[in-house]
Point group: C3
Chain length 541, copies 3
Amino acid sequence: MWKKSIATLAVVAGALMAISLPAMSTAAKAKPAARQINDGREDCYACHEEVKALKEGSKHAKLACDVCHSKLKEHLANSETKPGTIIDQALCGKCHKDQMESLFKVNYESPARKEKGVPTGRSPMMDKLLAPYGFTIEHNEPRGHAFMVTDQFVVDRFAGGRFQYKNGWTDVDKVGNTWDILKDNGPDFKMSETAKAGNPTCIQCKTSDHILKWKFMGDKDPKAQWDRTSDVIAVAKETNHIVGCIHCHDPHGTQPRVVRDALIQAIDDKGSKMFAGKDGKTDLKVISFRDGFRKIGVMQKADGRLMCAQCHVEYACGKGFEFSTGNPVGYDDQRTNHFPLTGPKELLEHYKKTQNFYDFKHAVTGARLVKLQHPETETFAGSVHDKAGVTCKDCHMPVLKNKAGKSFTSHMVIKPKDHVKEACLRCHPKFTAEQKLYQITAIQNYSKGKMRKAEYWLGQLIDTYATAKRMGVSEDVLAKAREKHEEAHVLWEWWTAENSDGFHNPELARDTLTHSVALSKEGVALLNKAIDAKAGAPAAK
Amino acid sequence: MWKKSIATLAVVAGALMAISLPAMSTAAKAKPAARQINDGREDCYACHEEVKALKEGSKHAKLACDVCHSKLKEHLANSETKPGTIIDQALCGKCHKDQMESLFKVNYESPARKEKGVPTGRSPMMDKLLAPYGFTIEHNEPRGHAFMVTDQFVVDRFAGGRFQYKNGWTDVDKVGNTWDILKDNGPDFKMSETAKAGNPTCIQCKTSDHILKWKFMGDKDPKAQWDRTSDVIAVAKETNHIVGCIHCHDPHGTQPRVVRDALIQAIDDKGSKMFAGKDGKTDLKVISFRDGFRKIGVMQKADGRLMCAQCHVEYACGKGFEFSTGNPVGYDDQRTNHFPLTGPKELLEHYKKTQNFYDFKHAVTGARLVKLQHPETETFAGSVHDKAGVTCKDCHMPVLKNKAGKSFTSHMVIKPKDHVKEACLRCHPKFTAEQKLYQITAIQNYSKGKMRKAEYWLGQLIDTYATAKRMGVSEDVLAKAREKHEEAHVLWEWWTAENSDGFHNPELARDTLTHSVALSKEGVALLNKAIDAKAGAPAAK
Amino acid sequence: MWKKSIATLAVVAGALMAISLPAMSTAAKAKPAARQINDGREDCYACHEEVKALKEGSKHAKLACDVCHSKLKEHLANSETKPGTIIDQALCGKCHKDQMESLFKVNYESPARKEKGVPTGRSPMMDKLLAPYGFTIEHNEPRGHAFMVTDQFVVDRFAGGRFQYKNGWTDVDKVGNTWDILKDNGPDFKMSETAKAGNPTCIQCKTSDHILKWKFMGDKDPKAQWDRTSDVIAVAKETNHIVGCIHCHDPHGTQPRVVRDALIQAIDDKGSKMFAGKDGKTDLKVISFRDGFRKIGVMQKADGRLMCAQCHVEYACGKGFEFSTGNPVGYDDQRTNHFPLTGPKELLEHYKKTQNFYDFKHAVTGARLVKLQHPETETFAGSVHDKAGVTCKDCHMPVLKNKAGKSFTSHMVIKPKDHVKEACLRCHPKFTAEQKLYQITAIQNYSKGKMRKAEYWLGQLIDTYATAKRMGVSEDVLAKAREKHEEAHVLWEWWTAENSDGFHNPELARDTLTHSVALSKEGVALLNKAIDAKAGAPAAK
């Protein structure tokens, strides 16, 4: 289905050919004279030495520049005329057919539109615990990468419901270019119980389409078509592909790389040890283009943890408020594009002290809550598997054989529980698949038990707070209870946002979830004490 | 099993042979002289011309009258001696073996006695939201038609528990004649947490046994053995078969038909456009017998929607109260046998204004609530599938082949999800069964998410109301909250009563369920405002 | 796996050879002179006539004493030197290979660490209904006998978390000797949200290792290494095997037997009719050793009900309180090792009047609650199956064939639902497995519906109590509500503790669970009445 709808995306402004290493910036800006083209590359290399450095000697060395770029002749004639760049996965797929086909393969084991916040769901008490945050409008269990854009755009909390499937529900398993699948019902469309919570930054984790139109960190810039404050509908409507090959693979030279700005910034700032090798260093060379307009990070050796960390982390991308003042923090503020890259125990402190940022106040208690995303990377860091040198792709992207018997890395990310043999037994050959599945399930059963207890006690804290407030319990007691709520909330929500049900790091899950329970119980106890004092009633017999 | 227990039900009083078209009533009442019988029909036709009109030229033309009727000789000798009529499906099954066997086939995929009102069930918050209505006693997920009578009679809310399986739980999958399977523990039998909520009208949707003993609309009449006020136990104990072939197929001439009185009345009253064809007319010729004692509706062409609408609709059949006065409405009132035949958005208005009828008051808020039944027909009306000309049988009654290779319409009504190939792929041949199942599941996942949210917010409304009342919030605020409860309740319960989890009309489900959420939130907000004013507490920080 | 870790447990103090029938006690204590040993038995029999009586003529007659006992020569030389006794199942397994291998077979259909107290679990409202009892810390669905010791030791409520798997979660399906699988993190180990609720008595149901070191009823005695007040950690660390063959089979003569003290006491005290045959007598000859230091009960014919009743009953083994005084009851009190052997309707009365013992007070209401265990035996007593002469093993321990085609009784206890053919169809050959599974499921669906309703109403009672207390409702009303709570609680918890979801006795389940609902509703009603009077508010409209 996606094959038919492959389209080329000619990106003009701020095109890749225009980027340059800082040392080359003057030369790059100079207008080259019109010249004879052979297979194109010599003429291009004359200005773009950095491309030559990546390309020559690499597996892509034999490709002519016009394979991926258009309007080269015009650009050579007049450097002000920008060339086009094809970002569509279909181009890469001409040679990397198995990888691309697997990327778009639908995993029918992962159902669509499965709400998390229901009694049988992954987050049964979500409506109470996250009130009134947008995720309470609709928050579904994730399904494959092939749907990452369309699922985001149609969810009831993204754009007020104006983006819907063109042909209704029969499009729910359709993959391919966004606007071949979706339609826009327009700005006047009204739909009950929706939210307009999408923003341009969150789209950068779902697509590579804007890679040349978005300044590093999404700051405003005359050279950037989009920034953090852009109209999200406009950005969405020019988003036609899911995250592309180029997010993880340098197109000029096939080097493993990362492009997501907040990840690069976090590693640059803190020299994050999360991804360090045995030598204590992180294998990431950050390259700045066009005086910092863009940065990419190139690895010597592909590190699945870094590649996946471009999205599978806790991050801030929405508007929020300052802890210190309560003042709003808008999209003009760089704090709305931030990767903490820290563990659950340190996270609240990080947001309170370093970032001075929270997402929303709880509807009942008024506690200042951080909305968690999907911190798989931070969870996995330091786990038994991480220490053993396992990376994401070892379990989630198995090496398969195509029909011709040739091996390739599947880019349909698998759930190990559905593919235990491929995911586990290569490293654990002495176990049967039945045993490994049993062990995984045991961990998840245990972790889910703790999650449910953390939810129960957060709920008790919220309900007891409501009673206390109505009975006129003093603000100093209420303030202490809110603080317990803030602490207990982060330690719980981490795990309902994280997608492994504790498997990525069972000890950390146990440790933090039970600490959440303990904090909620402390909050309930101090409220109950104040309530009983108010009521003049003796404590429970 | 059922084969052994087939019994004939000789219906004497008000027998079918006695019915007559109004124009013929004088002739029919005249006593015919004793005459020679050949194969019977000429003698019968002498008085019963309407039978001749239906029968001659039809597929049943070759059948002699005494195939289905007994005591014909006595009746001919003395018309006061009424003939008998065999209603048992077994008689029809002599020729329509495949249809009858499929009608009684047990679908082991549909479990028995599966309570809806449990956390993992179809209506997890039922005990709170429907308190104190009888459905909170026991309310199970439906299983096949073969169990429609026995399941109703044994459910703990029907007859105080006095009807039970003869051999205990091993009878739970037994089909056949009611009283071969069940026993009556008698009027003195006591069982905790039961209700006696059955009534004669509700039995008319489960069986055809009383078709000649029940006046149109169940009104009292000397010629009728039963009416709406009859002793339900007595009616039950003479109910031996599930809905018979004759509910949908005229026995004299095989014409497609309907017999359920409240459906015929609703279409007659309003000329319901719900079942109209492209010409704007509903294909239903209503025929009145015996000066309106009975009515049937005959179709030119079988319309599955009409046939199924005899039961699969929202209806009122129990006692209730008037909105305007609060006075009880008893079974003597025709409002206790009523089909609204209207959609969820218009339903409350219909019950408030037109019917002036509600079922019960909520235990906590005192809101006047309408108990919803299973409005599949109204839900489907106007849906994508309805507009495409699909009717119920196309998805639920597949054409199968018997062992001899002959095609027949299965009368074991299927769940399409268990039989996607038969139910969907005839019309959608370009999809695989896996895809269609995935798409159905997506709709249901989404709709179930909205149902759970509607339930959560109704629960919040109820709990907040209890707090408000206890804090002395003024009656005018409480009254507004009750009104919100009344509105939000109908829009939710429609979908938990309806059996498709939104599939029959996903847009309508989404629209009404989210409106239910919005209404509940409005109720919670106005109560909280009043509570905070009472408490003198500031709003949540 | 377990094969490699088989170790012999040489038990010295209070060894089996030292026990004697009362009449023989003098002879047994006399020091025998040093003598020639042939195959050992004549010398042993000289003092141990009771062993001769059990052994000679039995299936074990041909075994020499030193097969199971060590240091015989030394013991013969000096009777003060106690012989050793091998309790390890591995010894029995040398001849009874199939039985032993099946005992240790892992049933991968039963997941590990599956918390009951979650919305989709067996006891969804446990955290509220059992607060603050230790079971709210972690309470899992049971899995096979092979894990009975390790599962108990690692559960978060047993030893504060200090016992954990040696190799982490990959040990979760490992069977064999306890301390080959587990490690002890030591007394200083701290883990959040754990409890230290284990006690020496509860270990006696999990292992046979202490059979010679534990006086009857666990009373303190110089000859006993352990008693009820012993350090549970010390007892645990010397517990290396799950319940052994000798729990149910006398090792000297293979006679069917029971050894669990509280069962023997309960039958001795009350001459329990629960296990009586048609002659009204229970087939259990109780033999007292060493002046009552130990007792065993020997059967003429194996009665699975008695054997299983050693563990699968309601019992008290933890500390508690007296109903009459509120005073604590410690482990020094024999009430902490007690089998009531009574049904759910009589149980509270038994604990209130006869035992004067309750386990804990509810966190909110202060009701004095009995913590139920797994009363399968009492539930089954009097059921349809019990009356038909069925015993536990008939459904749970099928006769299988080994690879050589030889029949043996499986000692991997099965869930009948997973093995309907073996469990049901031998006695019900006219049904298909599909039908029987359907019928079982129907019973469980119905019973689970009632359980969920009982939970809902207990929750309502607790919440309403909290409101009432805060509004200053008078103590006499609160006291009445607490009494309702105490009664309703037992009738509910029985069934969530019992493992058949009502199947063992559907009528009893229905009867008691609905009575629990009725009692909770009475409690709610009397509280609401008092609350409304306080609030001056009119009752719900």
